[in-house]
Amino acid sequence: MSDAPLLSARGVSKMFGQIRALNEIDLDIGPGVTGLLGPNGSGKSTLLKLFAGQLIPDTGEVRLMGQDPFRQPAALRHLGLCPEQDRFYEEISARRFVTVLTQLHGYDHAAAQRMADEAIARVGMSETARRPLGQMSRGMRQRIKIAQAIAHNPPVLLLDEPLTGADPVARADLIDLVRDLGREERAVVVSSHVLHEVEAMTHDVIFIRFGRLRAQGDVLRLRAMLADRPYRIRLEVDAPRQVAALLLEAPYLRAVTLLSEDTLEITTTDLEAAAAEIPLRLLEAGHALRRFTSPDADLESLYRYLMGHPQAQGGA
């Protein structure tokens, strides 16, 4: 596969009347799973619709495998889209629905049916696929939406809120499926509000707010770039006072707070160094380290810093 991005946007802006939905977006998306994050109305869906050839940018250009998805419909053979809305041709069976949509990619009926059956099996819906879509639960319909997106084996997948309506078991299955799809050298873009689900799928994220790109990249790297926001690390140890005294001299340490009889919270600007050294120091000193967690190093904290605090400038 070439190094060219599977999806790219250059200087893309989009207005709806007086509202600027996207503002000068520049980004490239390559293989793997990428989480597209932002609050409601931030421009996530508009970006997906631009990539899916449903909208035309007012300025700039979007490219799907190097082609304009709106003016060159042939480019859409590379795309699988799982739309957000829970709407279908209700009276049609799931199998026929997926088969017909696969046929529109140029496959004859027999090939399309085989591919549809494989996709339906992959989302775990083989047994109920002959049922009309109108008689299926929201979670089942969600799986069928994913099946129609992956049936023709596209290198680019856009999944808009793919886990909506799925029960916990189905969610876990779908998260595994998304991860697997990302490992197959596809670009899988997942737009979601549910951070922990995105975190379970990927560490590569794009943050959009007010139509602007706030940050793009690996969660931990982005977090490390926020130098003005030190990390808190919680240590569950046998003797917190002695451990605190032991760590006070460490150069990466900013503050130590005793939280309880067995928990200590330290503040550091260098999570990597702290994570590498603290367990070793404690081991050498003969202390038992039962738990090492950082409430500031996950996707949720990064989201809070980038999106919740307007002063945080995390462009990457």
Partner: protein, 235 residues
């Protein structure tokens, strides 16, 4: 081109299948059976009345019912995304959708018109009139459905207020209607007795060609509009 035609066939078959299951179609089918049955039962001379009712009133009304919402329905049902994100020019999908909406009109009006056409010599022209009328009206109403906000009302006024009455007017004005061509093909003279002596039917070939041109042009313009417009669904 061949791939586009294949896609057109697939999308046409899919939407025809869906259309055949809809309530409006079943309702129109029952109306037509009732009308045909009633008139045949009443008297043999009713054939002409049935033919007029089928081709001059019911065919345009059915075309309006089925074709005016080909794009709008998919936007309202939020299903547009599924077809329009495939590697097929959206215009072809639009044409397929219009054909799938025209086909039931032909399926219902053709048998009725053939029964009513009666005379052997009129069977072919009656069938041609039923087919071309459905195509031309289908193209027009599908296009109007894209362009105006209340297409169904406009369509009703067009059929009952303009087409039916003006098509009986002799001369240039009457020629401005599609129905004057349908009348010419199926040999249906004006219903207003005073106008009968002035009636001068256009030639069958010209009328058939005019209806065909209207169908092709309106389908082409409609397809081009679909091709160039943004069709994203709002949440």
């Amino acid at each position: 081109m061949s791939r586009s035609l294949d896609a057109l066939g697939v999308w046409f078959g899919f939407h025809l299948d869906r259309r055949m299951r809809t309530r409006p179609l079943k309702l129109w089918g029952l109306v037509m059976i009732g009308v045909v049955g009633g008139l045949i039962w009443a008297e043999r001379g009713a054939q002409d009345t049935l033919n007029r009712l089928t081709l001059l009133i019911l065919s345009p009304l059915m075309s309006l019912t089925f074709c005016v919402g080909v794009v709008r329905e998919e936007i309202e049902d939020q299903t547009l995304t599924y077809g329009f994100t495939r590697p097929v020019a959206r215009g072809w999908l639009y044409v397929a959708r219009v054909f799938a909406s025209v086909a039931p009109v032909v399926l219902i009006t053709l048998p009725a018109a053939l029964i009513a056409g009666g005379r052997l010599g009129l069977l072919l022209p009656t069938a041609a009139a039923a087919l071309l009328a459905a195509l031309a009206y289908g193209g027009v109403f599908a296009l109007v459905g894209q362009l105006v906000k209340w297409p169904a009302w406009l369509g009703l006024i067009f059929i009952l207020g303009w087409e039916y009455w003006v098509s009986q007017v002799p001369g240039f004005l009457g020629r401005l209607t599609l129905l004057s061509d349908v009348r010419a093909i199926a040999d249906l003279k004006p219903e207003i007795p005073g106008l009968l002596s002035f009636w001068e039917a256009p030639s069958l070939g010209v009328s058939a060609l005019r209806l065909l041109i209207v169908a092709v042009v309106t389908l082409g313009v409609g397809a081009r509009l679909v091709q160039r417009r943004e069709h994203a669904l709002s949440k």
